[in-house]
């Protein structure tokens, strides 16, 4: 997963907060920095794989630090922030959209944490606010001393358009209340997802990293929301070459859980306790295979061995589009059965999912003449074959009948007589030395095309029987 932290640098963040009973005072920005540090410290311990980027905004928005796992670098950079002008939210959303897209394309879920002043209650509800263009959530932490007027105007902390929600620290603002809210965010947003990976009686407790999110899909007749269940059941195996490249929603590392919680001391012991997860990974890697598993009642995923580089390979869960037709070329997933034996090659070809009975237009010889060139190309084709008769007699007549049938369907009657004229012309132009059968066939075809029954879709025009021997070709 990835996180974007957006820090407000408007002048209002310059405000000083005096801490009761002490002489200390902090600016809102200092509190914000403190909060970010708390978050980063949490990540460093619990979620080291998290990528974090920081943007700062006021009337414009700038990327302070692009996605990195070097949290110390971020800490260093946020100590040197300078104030700008007034707060303006739309550019932030835009900048984050581009930042996320250029870095991750659209396949990564992103957590956005925005630290701003109290204006967010109203500002983020304005109509010019658009939701993010990537899968993700926004958490807004408003730092304001007085319980703002706006806050009471809106009874919900939820932002419109599914943008996210507001999470304010307890008042009065102190470094510790800010720290508390950031701890809360960290604990809620960066929980590893625990699940059981199961294959028959074999099972393994696992963590999924990043945690999977529920997915809402709108089909023509229903909107379905799929949540991953906490039991991933393998239903069978596939050769990787058969899976090819289906559309994937998200990918997650599958890491076996430690047997007990006392991490440090048991590290050694736990790495020596056999885990089904590790066995599965080894076998998938050696055999170059993929395991198909059920994520919830109508959602499936693939388990593969995956390596970032040559050395470190890992078990990865790929979530497919919800539904049973996520890999169209395998057919309905519910119709897949376990075959007890390895199939021979011919059997394998037979068991390809039912070839679609009606082929796609590009896979059959359909004639489309909307553009002039389309028809002209078809006519040129039969003329070329006409000149090469008698060798090309079968293909000439086949092509001629194809055109004829299309012309009948489109009610394009003039075309046939016009082709007859062309054939006559072709016949007259035949160079000397052409096989005499060629002229005979051309004349025959032209005559047939002019007959009234040429428009009968049930008939085909066949070659003329001549004294020349070539018709054994037919």
């Amino acid at each position: 997963m990835a996180t974007v932290i957006a820090i407000d640098l408007s002048v209002s963040m310059l405000r000083d907060i005096k801490i009761k009973d002490t002489k200390e005072s902090f600016t809102l920005l200092q509190l914000a920095t403190h909060g970010v540090n708390v978050l980063l410290d949490y990540l460093a311990v619990h979620s080291r794989l998290e990528f974090v980027a920081v943007v700062t905004f006021s009337s414009t928005c700038d990327v302070l630090c692009s996605f990195t796992r070097d949290y110390d670098l971020i800490k260093a950079k946020i100590t040197q922030l300078e104030f700008r002008t007034n707060t303006c939210y739309p550019p932030v959303i835009q900048t984050i959209n581009y930042l996320v897209h250029s870095e991750w394309s659209n396949s990564v879920t992103c957590q956005v944490i925005m630290i701003t002043d109290g204006n967010c209650y109203e500002g983020l509800r304005k109509p010019d606010m658009t939701p993010f263009l990537f899968p993700g959530k926004l958490i807004v932490v408003p730092l304001d001393q007085v319980s703002s007027l706006y806050k009471n105007n809106y009874d919900s902390n939820k932002l419109p358009n599914g943008l996210g929600h507001i999470m304010s620290p307890e008042l009065p603002l102190t470094p510790s209340s800010v720290a508390k809210v950031f701890e809360k965010i960290s604990k809620e947003a960066y929980v590893p997802y625990s699940a059981v990976l199961r294959c028959g009686h074999l099972k393994s407790d696992i963590h999924l990293i990043p945690p999977p999110y529920s997915y809402t899909k709108a089909a023509d007749f229903e909107i379905t929301t799929c949540c991953i269940s906490n039991e991933l059941s393998i239903i069978g195996f596939l050769e990787s070459s058969r899976v090819e490249c289906p559309a994937t929603l998200s990918r997650h590392l599958v890491l076996p859980q430690r047997v007990s919680d006392e991490c440090v001391e048991n590290n050694e012991a736990s790495s020596k306790t056999p885990s089904f997860c590790v066995l599965l990974h080894g076998a998938l890697k050696v055999e170059n295979m993929t395991a198909l598993c059920q994520l919830s009642s109508n959602w499936y995923g693939l388990l593969v061995s995956w390596a970032d580089n040559k050395k470190k390979s890992n078990l990865m869960l790929i979530t497919l589009e919800p539904g049973t037709n996520a890999i169209p070329w395998l057919g309905d997933i519910q119709n897949l059965t376990l075959s007890p034996t390895e199939l021979s090659k011919t059997e394998l070809e037979e068991s390809q999912p039912v070839k679609t009975s009606d082929k796609r237009s590009y896979n059959q010889s359909q004639l489309v003449w909307i553009k002039e060139a389309g028809l002209q190309a078809d006519i040129q084709k039969i003329l070329r074959q006409a000149r090469k008769m008698p060798d090309k007699i079968p293909s000439f007549y086949k092509e001629l009948n194809r055109i004829r049938k299309a012309a009948i369907a489109y009610s394009f009657n003039d075309l046939l007589t016009s082709i007859a004229d062309l054939l006559d012309l072709e016949c007259n132009n035949l160079p000397g030395g052409t096989h005499p059968d060629c002229a005979l066939q051309l004349t025959h075809a032209a005559i047939e095309l002019r007959k009234p029954y040429a428009m009968d879709p049930k008939l085909s025009i066949g070659p003329m029987i001549t004294k020349y021997t070539h018709h054994d070709l037919m």
Partner: protein
């Protein structure tokens, strides 16, 4: 657009009403030059031919159908109605009639519009088609019926689109047509009674007004606007020669499609095969394939978007990237969307070449040229089972960069995993599309899970925690036979022979040589070895008691070891089987068995008894009772004992799985077919 707005799209059902009146038999200005052959100079070239307005219209309709059905083989249905002196329906909502060949066939039967002859008895009009169109829209499609039967909370909204292709004199005539259509719609909505018909909740009416190119037309275009709660109207007016382009522009909006132009495809020139030139091919697909590109940097997006020549939509230009080898494909997980494609110009030579290239199993990578001149691979074209898809590929970094290796985690330092055995297990459990069409609600997934469960009932993860799986020279084929749903009598014999072989080895005081054991110093004493092995074997057999024959194997082990069945496990299991057989409701039988299944008693596999050494069996055991019973029944039937000795003897001698399996292949097949579950 919110998710609920996407529910019940109007494009689920589209009806075309095409004017087939004599007026549409008039020639349009769409002409084709027929000047192909060299002719003597100063002769008149062959005269060009003209398409009729009907030809232009119906071509455009068929092209609309072709593209929709190519991209959406299911769920987007189109019907075509022609109207002259009466209306004629070309196809139904049934999927068997939703294909272009069906349409072509029926169009051939309709023929060209009648010649315009003054005939007071015959009244030609497009209006006859309106009633029929309204009626077809009330007919439920299979998908709508299915959804109705699901009894979801939301009522199925019957939304649809009607496209009328006709010729009107002026705007008031268009209004007239619209109100006639509206009235028909209201009328049919009143008379809905049967459940297979549904009130039309909303209809998007598109009137395409067309006219011969030679005249000017007074009908003006109107953008979509609401007429009534059930009707929206949109009007387009085009000369007949342009109708093809107009309809395909509408198509893109109706189905939310986008256009991609694959540029720079190197192709040999038609006339001169030695030189090659670059060509472009335009394809259509769902618009979401472009989301990634369009959401990224605005400048980059602008660099690839171009206006399509001669049309009012945009196309995204992506560069063909000559593939080096097919294994250059991106990783399985970097493909984020997948959509069917279809070429726009299906007959053009460049399209045909690209299509053939893809259908032959090769894939094409598409590059996006960025504003600064940089490139990034954004899409892949590839065919599966004769269908071509566009994959959008995520070009970004992966969030899983530099992950910890699995070997660093829990269980990572264990080196004795039975990887090869698990590999075999996976190969024995490959998923295949089932050939038979299963009954509607049958779910193979639960069967698959059940099968995996049986095979893993006892499955040690590492070699050092098992003996029997390391002693395959003795224990096979028993280990693989026992996990089957059913074992035949012959297989039962084989299992027993494995046990006997181990017995023999023990009596000869042979060392159980265990391959792959890492530490020879830790080699157990012979006695301990056998003890551990027998205990493990017992556990294994106890975990796999699925039928009576399975129980008999365990029984055999107990007999060999001279050990009583302390927990009465066999007895309990057998009683359980009997109970479940007796209690088994006929309904379940009907769903799991084929009508050809033999009666249950035979399936349980007690037709023959393998061995008659009853003497060892406790006369009080269920086993004993059964054997007696079976012997009796055999006597009654006076069945000659089957010719099993040859095979049995052989298997004793060879004790090798291969030879044996080959010999009895037909028996295996036979019993598998009869198997209960």
């Amino acid at each position: 657009m919110s998710l609920t707005d996407q529910l019940f799209p109007v494009n689920h059902k589209t009806t075309f009403v095409v004017d087939h009146t004599p007026y549409f038999g008039l020639a349009s200005n769409a002409h084709i030059k027929m000047d192909f052959t060299k002719r003597p100079p100063n002769t008149v070239p062959p005269s060009p031919i003209f398409k009729s307005m009907w030809t232009c219209s119906i071509e455009a309709v068929l092209e609309y159908c072709r593209i929709v059905w190519d991209l959406f083989p299911e769920g987007k249905l189109i019907r075509v109605i022609s109207s002259d002196s009466q209306s004629r329906i070309l196809n139904s909502w049934a999927s068997s009639q939703q294909n272009v060949n069906h349409m072509l066939h029926h169009l051939s039967l309709i023929g060209p519009p009648a010649k315009l002859l003054p005939n007071p008895n015959r009244d030609y009009s497009v209006v006859y088609g309106f009633r029929t169109a309204a009626e077809t829209m009330t007919e439920c499609t299979t998908a709508q019926m299915d959804q109705d039967s699901k009894k979801n909370n939301i009522e199925v909204q019957n939304k649809c689109r009607t496209i009328i292709i006709t010729s009107a004199r002026d705007n008031p005539s268009i209004d007239n047509l619209m109100s006639m259509f509206h009235n028909e719609l209201i009328k049919v909505n009143k008379y809905i009674s049967q459940p297979s018909f549904k009130t039309v909740h909303q209809c998007h009416l598109v009137i395409v007004n067309t006219y011969p190119d030679s005249i000017t037309c007074e009908v003006t275009d109107r953008p979509i606007h609401t007429i009534s709660p059930i009707l929206d109207l949109e009007v387009h007016s085009v000369p007949a020669s342009k109708i093809g382009i107009k309809i395909s522009n509408l198509l893109l909006k109706h189905y939310n499609l986008a256009s991609t132009t694959v540029t720079g495809i190197p192709m040999k020139e038609e006339q001169n095969a030695s030189s090659s030139a670059n060509y472009d091919v335009e394809i259509y697909h769902a618009a979401t394939a472009h989301t990634t590109i369009l959401n990224a940097n605005v400048a980059d997006a602008k660099a690839v978007v171009a206006k399509k020549e001669g049309a009012d939509y945009e196309t995204i230009k992506l560069k063909w990237c000559t593939p080096r080898a097919n294994n250059n494909l991106p990783d399985i997980h970097s493909c984020t969307t997948l959509h069917r494609i279809t070429p726009v110009d299906i007959n053009s030579r460049p399209s045909a070449c690209l299509i053939t290239f893809l259908l032959n199993g090769r894939s094409v990578l598409l590059e996006m040229i960025k504003q600064g001149g940089g490139k990034s691979m954004s899409h892949v074209l590839k065919s599966y089972n004769g269908e071509i898809y566009i994959h959008s590929v995520s070009s970004g970094r992966t969030v899983l960069e530099d992950p910890p290796a699995i070997s660093e985690g829990p269980g990572g330092k264990v080196s004795q995993y039975r990887v090869a055995d698990f590999g075999n297990f996976m190969k024995l459990n490959l998923l295949q599309p089932s050939k038979r069409k299963t009954t509607e609600d049958k779910n193979c997934i639960d069967d698959a899970k059940e099968k995996l469960k049986k095979q893993t009932a006892y499955w040690p993860l590492i070699t050092s925690s098992t003996m029997i799986f390391n002693l395959k020279q003795y224990t096979e084929p028993m280990l693989s036979l026992m996990v089957k749903d059913n074992i035949t009598d012959q297989e039962l014999m084989n299992c027993k022979q494995c046990i006997y072989a181990l017995m023999t080895a023990e009596s000869k005081n042979e060392h159980l040589i265990i391959p792959n054991l890492i530490n020879p110093r830790k080699m157990m004493k012979k006695d301990d070895q056998y003890k551990t092995m027998w205990t493990e074997l017992e556990t294994f057999l106890k975990s796999n008691l699925y039928t009576e024959n399975h129980c008999k194997v365990l029984q055999c082990l107990f007999e060999c070891l001279g050990k009583p069945d302390e927990e009465k496990i066999i007895e309990k299991t057998l009683t359980r089987f009997k109970k479940s057989l007796a209690n088994r409701p006929s309904v379940i039988r009907a769903t799991t068995d084929s009508p050809m299944s033999p009666p249950l008693t035979q399936q349980a596999g007690i037709k023959h008894i393998a061995q008659n050494n009853n003497s060892d069996i406790d006369p009080n055991s269920v086993m004993y009772l059964q054997i007696i019973q079976e012997n009796d029944s055999r006597k009654v039937n006076n069945q000659p004992s089957r010719p099993q000795f040859a095979g049995r003897l052989k298997s004793v001698q060879l004790r090798s799985g291969n030879l044996f399996a080959k010999l009895y292949q037909h028996i295996d097949d036979d019993t598998d077919a009869k198997s209960v579950k």
